[in-house]
C-alpha cells in the first residue's frame, strides 16, 4: 500500500518522503530513502539495538517503528547527536575510553547512553546495574562491554560538568 508523500522531522530538518510504502520501517526510510545510514541493521527484529534512535526523546528500535508512525514527531539519529564537526559528550567518551572496536553497535549504543544520561536525575551518579540494564538492549560482540561502561562513566561526568 502506497502512501502519499509524508514529512519526517529528523535531526531538526524536515524531509519529504515520496512514494513510500506504509509498511516501511523507520530504519529503512532513514537508511535507504533519507541517506542517513548511521542507524544500523544488525537483526531487524528489535533484539540488538543497533538501529536505536530517539523519537520525541524516547529510545526506540527504528526497525520496529513504522516510518509513517513517526510523522509529526522529532526523530534524532546518530547523525544528529552533535552539530557537524563537533562531538557530543557521549561520542567523545566512547572514543576516549576505547569503547569502539568494529563500531557497528556504536551508533545504537550512543543513542541508548544519551537517553540514559538524559533520564538520570541531575547530578545523579549512574549505578552500575542501572547502566548495565539501560544498555542491555544493545548487543556488542567486540568489547565485552567493559570499555563501554567506562565510557558511560566518563560521559556522565562530562554531562554533569565534572570534567571538561
Amino acid at each position: 500500500m502506497s502512501a502519499g508523500p509524508y514529512v519526517l522531522r529528523v535531526n531538526g530538518n524536515d524531509h519529504e518522503v515520496p512514494d513510500a510504502h506504509l509498511g516501511e520501517s523507520l530504519l529503512w526510510v532513514l537508511r535507504e530513502r533519507l541517506g542517513l545510514p548511521g542507524s544500523k541493521n544488525a537483526c531487524e527484529e528489535g533484539e540488538c539495538g543497533s538501529c536505536s534512535v530517539q523519537v520525541d526523546g524516547e529510545l526506540v528500535c527504528s526497525c520496529l517503528v513504522l516510518a509513517a508512525a513517526a510523522v509529526g514527531r522529532e526523530v534524532t539519529t546518530i547523525e544528529g547527536l552533535a552539530p557537524d564537526g563537533e562531538l557530543a559528550d557521549v561520542q567523545r567518551a566512547f572514543v576516549e575510553a576505547g569503547a569502539v572496536q568494529c563500531g557497528f553497535c556504536t551508533p545504537g549504543l550512543l543513542m541508548a547512553v544519551d537517553t540514559l544520561l538524559d533520564d538520570l536525575p541531575d547530578g545523579g551518579d549512574p549505578d552500575d546495574l542501572i547502566v548495565r540494564e539501560a544498555i542491555s538492549g544493545n548487543l556488542c560482540r567486540c568489547t565485552g562491554y567493559g570499555r563501554i561502561l567506562e565510557a558511560v562513566s566518563i560521559a556522565a561526568d562530562l554531562r554533569r560538568g565534572n570534567r571538561t
Binding site: 545510514p37 541493521n41 576505547g98 563500531g103 548487543l139
Partner: protein, 759 residues
Amino acid sequence: MTDVRTEEPRTVQGAPRIGESAPRPDGIPKVNGSFAFSSDLWHDRMLWGGTLRSPHPSARIRSIDIGPAVAVTGVHAVLTSADVPGSPTYGLEHADQPVLASDVVRYEGEPVAIVAADHPDAVRRALDAIVVDYEVTTPLVDPGLAESSDPIHPDGNLIRRIHLRHGNQEVVGDVVVEGTYEVGMQDQAFLGPESGLAVPAEDGGVELFIATQWLHADRDQVAACLGLEPGLVRLTLAGVGGAFGAREDLSLHAHLCLLALHTHRPVKMVYSREESFHGHVHRHPARMWYRHHADRAGNLVRVEARLLLDGGAYASSSGAVIANATCFAAGPYRVPSADIEGVVVRTNNPPCGAMRGFGSVQACIGHEAQMDRLAAALGMDPVELRLRNVLATGDRLPTGQVITGTAPVAEVLRTCVDHPSAASLSGDPMSLPGGAGRTADPAHVRRGEAVALGFKNLMFSEGFDDSSSAICRLEGGVATVTCACAEVGQGFVTLAQQITREVLGVEEVVLAPAATATVGSAGSTSASRQSWMSGGAVQAACEEVRVRLLTSVADDRGVDPDELVLVEGRVVSLSGDFEADLASVTAEAIEAEVEFRHAPTSPLDENGQGDAHVSFAFSAHRAIVDVDCDLGLVKVVELTTSQDVGRLLNPLQAIGQIEGGAAQGVGLAVMEEVLVLDGRIRNASFTDYLVPTALDMPPVEIAALIEQPEPGAPFGAKGIGEPPSISSTAAVVAAIRAATELNLTHVPVRPTDIALAGA
C-alpha cells in the same frame, strides 16, 4: 628485523607511538555515524541482489525453473549454477563448495540461485517465484557415522585425520582419569551482516567493495569462479562490522560479481540475520574423549585423546582447525607420551570453519576438565597440579616441537590465581542467576570458583608460506602506509600509525585504503597474526624508508648515516651540529614496499610430529559463578585473567581484546549454541541465539599482562586476540562444576544439565 625494546615506553610529544594507548583513527567516524560499513554502500543505478537457499539439508535437484522469477517486474537477472563461467566450486583449503548448487544440496541454506532486481521487494518476489524440484534425501547428521556412511560429496566424508603419537606408547600412569566432553556449535555473531557492492568495470572486470578478513584470498577464489584473471577482480575493504573468523570464507562475494557482470549494473546485497546464520561457517561442534595418566606426585606421564569435529557440508578451514585441536589437545603442559587422534568429517550439518580460538577452544574445554578431574583423583590442589606440569621455554610439545620462544605459563597462572577477588555476594536480585526475572532464592544460590589455562599458536602453521606486504611512502614529512590488512575492529589501523611514527618520527600518518589493486596480500586477519605479520611488514617498509632517507641526507651533508636520527619530524645529527625539517628533506618522495615473512614452519609427519608452529601465546582465567541449582541458571560474577602478550603495543586496545574475547568465552560457556536438529538450524536469530548482554557479562579483572618480548616478533609483541576466548570458557564451566558438584560434560552448560541432574 627484530627490534625488541624492553625499556619503559617514553612519553613522546604529540602523536602516540608504540606502547601507548593511541586513539583509533576511525574512532570519530565510527561515533558520528559517518563510517561506511559494507551495508551502507550505495551506487547510482544500483540493483539489489538476493539468494535462494535450499530448505533441505540433503536433496537432489531435479530441475530449477527460473521462468516465473524472470517475469517478475523489476527483475534484471536470475542466475543458477549454469551461469557460473569459471570454476563451479571454491574453498579456502579445498575448492569443494559450489558457488551455486547444481545437482545436489548438502546443507540447509545452501545457495541455489541468485537474483538482481531494482528493489529488495522485487528480489523477494523473484526468489519466491523460482521453482526448484527437490528429491529430498536422508541427511547425514551424526558425525560419528560419517566415515561409515555413503559419501555425501565426491571428496568423501573424511576431511582430515591426524594421529599424533609421541614418546613411549607403553606408559601407564599410577593414576588414570577418563572423560568425555561435548562442545556445541558457536556462531561468531558479528553484528554487521554479510554485505557488499559489486560494480562492473569497463575493462570487463569487476570492483567489489566487501567486508572480509583476507582480500587477496577472496580475490583469487572469486576470479577463478568468474573465469577472469585475478587482476580483473579488484577488491576494496568496506567497513567491517566484526568478523571473528566468519568472514574468512566467501559468502556473497562471487554472487555479487556474477550479478554485476551479468546485468552491467552495480549490485548490492545485504544478508538478513537469519540468512547470516546460514551464510557463514560456525565453530565446530566437538565430541572429545580423554584419558590422562599421572604418577602419584602429579606429574603427567601420558595423555590419550580422540577428538571428533563436525565439519558440516564443506571443508572450509576444517583441516587447519583439527590440526590445532590435535596439536594442543593436551594443553600447555609437559606430556612425555601422547596418543591423540583428531578427526574432522563431512556431514549435512551447516559448514564449520574459523572462529576465534580455532580448535584450541574445544581442546581447552577438554584438557582443563581433565586436569581438574586428575587433581581430584590425586587429592591435589588443581593449581598445584597445573604448576607442576606447565610448559616453559625449552620444553617439548606432544608434536615434538621444542618451544624456543617465551612461555611464561607459570607466571600467567600464578598472577591470575594470586589476584584478589573483588566479588562480593550481591543482595540485588538483578545480580543473581535469573537476573531481571527475579527468580532466584538467594538461600539456594551456590557459588563456585575455578581456574583454567589455555594456549594457542600465533600465525598459520604446518609449512604455510605466510606473508604480508606493506608500502611506506614518505613525502613532505607525511607518511602514507598502504597495506591490505583487513581492519575488522581489532585496531590494526591504530597500530600501523603507531609503528610508522615509532620508526620514522613523523606526526602525520595516512592510511591508504586496503585493496588488492594497490599492494600485495597481507594475509588473513586471523590466527592472532596481523600485529606480527602486517605490523612487521609496516615496520620493515618504514625502516627501509628511514635507512634510504638517512643515507641520502648523510650523502648530501657528507656525514655518517649512523650519526643521524629521526626525532619528532626532524633529521638530527647526534653530534648536534646538524638538524633539518623532515618535510624539507622529503620534498621528493621516498617509497619502499616490503614483503614480510615469519620463520618457516614444517608440516606434521604421519605421527603428527614436526616443528609446525611459529609461536605460542598463553592465558589463564579464574571464574566465579553463582548458580541457582533449582532452575539451573548461572550468573558469572567475576572473571580474572592474566595473559602472555610479549610486549604491549597499545594497552587500551589490548584491554578491549581481552574483555571482548572473554565475553565470547562466557557466551560459549553458558548460553551460545546453534541448535541443529536433523540438519536444520532451529535458532537462526538474535531472539533465539543468545549472546551476552551487559547484564550477562561480569567485570573482567586483568591480573597481569606478562611482557616477555618474543624473539623474532616485531617489537617482541605476541598477538592477543584469541587467548581471551580460549581459557575463559573452560574456567566458567569448571566454576559451575565447582558450585554444583555435577559432572557437567556439555558446553554450553544448559539449565537442564543442572536442574534435571538430580531428578
